[in-house]
Symmetry: C2
Subunit: 366 residues, 2 copies
């Protein structure tokens, strides 16, 4: 069964292939009766224009790639990415643009990128200097960087360092001196310097520790996986090795939630015995028991903004922009009700929010 092409339709309708093309793309150019005849023939034959041929000619396929450096299972297992994709989708949907998730294929990101039939990429978690990204630039493929450094391309980031600083500062101001910091393993190319999201958040923590004149030793910072189990294991291990933190700072909510689970299993009361602050404000954070205090960042908004930037570049070749969105320290119930002092700083405790929306309480980061 050979595919039905524009020629078949043309034959059946008694017109040229060009006329069929016009009937679909620019019906005004043809007499109304002709258009109708063509469309009828197309329907009868079950004709649909071949997207590849169309894309080949028009250099536009109407699909955006969302590029993740991590394997696909990791992506969809992480609520953070779900929200991010939701943000992107809310924008592309109404513009009639498709979404291709691009993850390393058989371990090779290069292969995945080369094979992707897309008009451009939203890249998350990779710096512009990364090898594959550089290759993209050289090829002239438009892209926008999210959560990564960019020199020439547009980028969207959040104030990671400020948010982290606010979280750490709050705990230290409250007198905590034994704080467990949870972070994740850095990709090899970030090892040298503290690049990327992880680096910026750690820098924020460190700055707060320095300002409060509290030592943060290497032992206090543990690296683990960005999963519930990762956070759980890390806290469990710390506890079993006789360390007795009174607070936890995690660079990711999902790890914070894991630590929370471990703490509860050990009979610790949160927040009385242990205060926990995560990062990201994924939907799950508001729904946990107790609801997790965290540094809110506008995840979906990040996706939307990045997509808007990319689409503009695709359309106009508009100007590059480097956008930094704010983060906000969001106090729920994994931290104690604020003291009068911190309250005077504008911090207030929010109630349980049954809709899972943001609590009222927040303090702007920095």
């Amino acid at each position: 069964m050979a595919r039905v092409t524009i020629h078949d339709v043309a034959g059946k309708a008694g017109v040229s292939p060009a006329a069929v093309s016009h009937a679909f793309n620019d019906p005004e150019r043809l007499r109304a009766t002709t258009v109708e005849r063509i469309l009828d023939a197309a329907r009868d034959l079950g004709y649909a224009p071949n997207p590849h041929a169309r894309a080949l000619h028009s250099r536009r396929v109407g699909v955006l790639g969302v590029l993740f450096p991590q394997p696909i299972a990791t992506v969809f297992a992480n609520p953070f990415f779900a929200s991010f994709l939701e943000g992107i989708g809310s924008f592309t949907d109404e513009r009639g643009i498709g979404l291709l998730t691009v993850t390393p294929l058989g371990g090779s990101l290069e292969r995945a990128i080369a094979a992707a039939p897309v008009d451009g990429f939203v890249i998350i978690g990779l710096d512009e200097g990364h090898e594959e990204v550089a290759r993209l630039r050289k090829r002239g493929v438009p892209f926008v960087i999210v959560d990564g450094d960019a020199e020439t391309a547009s980028s969207v980031n959040v104030d990671d360092e400020g948010g982290a600083y606010a979280a750490a500062d709050l705990l230290l101001q409250r007198g905590h001196r034994k704080v467990l910091v949870l972070t994740f393993h850095a990709p090899p190319d970030e090892l040298k310097k503290d690049l990327g999201v992880r680096g910026r958040r750690l820098r924020g923590y460190r700055r707060a520790f320095a300002k409060n004149r509290v030592a943060l030793t290497e032992d206090d910072v543990v690296r683990t996986f960005v999963t519930l189990d990762g956070g759980d294991d890390a806290f469990t291990a710390a506890w079993e090795s006789r360390r007795r933190p009174t607070a936890v700072l995690a660079v990711s909510d999902i790890m914070a939630l894991g630590a929370l689970r471990a703490a509860k299993r050990m009979g610790l009361r949160v927040p009385e015995d242990l205060e926990v602050i995560g990062f990201d404000d994924i939907p799950l954070a508001a729904a946990s028991q107790p609801p997790l205090s965290t540094v809110h960042q506008p995840i979906a908004e990040k996706g939307r903004v990045a997509t808007r930037l990319l689409m503009r570049e695709l359309d106009d070749g508009g100007p590059r922009e480097r956008i930094v969105l704010p983060t906000e320290l969001l106090l729920r119930e994994s931290t104690r009700a604020p003291s009068a002092k911190s309250n005077s700083l504008g911090l207030a405790k929010g109630g349980i929010d049954r809709a899972g929306k943001r609590s009222m309480a927040r303090a702007a980061a920095r």
Copy 2:
């Protein structure tokens, strides 16, 4: 800046375009030194084969479409779909296949399908009779149906009715007589008959009610949204209208979790005052407070199996299959510890499972 094509590379390397193609796709055919020269030229120029042109010729683009009838925001907001996509991805990843999420574009599923540059579709939640699906069949595009009825195409379903029956039967056997059933709005084309997943699950409930000679009135079945808030609102509304259910059956975990939240807010103890059983066993179910009893279905596995079927059809044109995977009633702590009687039926209470994996306790559906 014109895109660099195979001709440019050929020119620079002093060979024909055909040779360049061979260097990439079948290097054995060329002398090693020639291949190297070509590859060098390609790298210098930043050449990458145009996926559209390649797809046009070879009638293969290496991308699978995952077709959802609901808007993209709904998809990514639902952990069920995340697990499903994870399953699909685990299979396509290693085969070097990309994944395109196909959702209605600007409200039109037809448009989204027509524009999708894919080799085939995994369709979830649509029956083969659906208009757009029929069009696909007519065009000869390969697809596999998940969670939907199929006559000619391959399909993957789970034993919805059996699982639902087991859940309802357990509650009724325990003496519950006031059970609130939560379901979602049916798409218009399912209204006439109880088609689809929702219909099958409701049928399972109804069968158990009939067998236990308990009436299930229309008032006991409430339709709402497949979200936390949906379940929350539905339970709240029922409670406020003075109905006092002692148990909740939900056709979806996320709704069950919403009802759980509402119940706790009203001061009900779960499971002492209210027993709750959901459906799906999304990861969140094991992590809730208390952990949610539910009907487990192998979500990721469904995606994997469907993808395997589709890939086989693409490769061999292999035979069509209709697969039905089992469901299992999975008792956690939103239901009471089993009585001796039900225990003798093989039901046992599982402990909290910190890894969020399935509890040991289960009873095979039916």
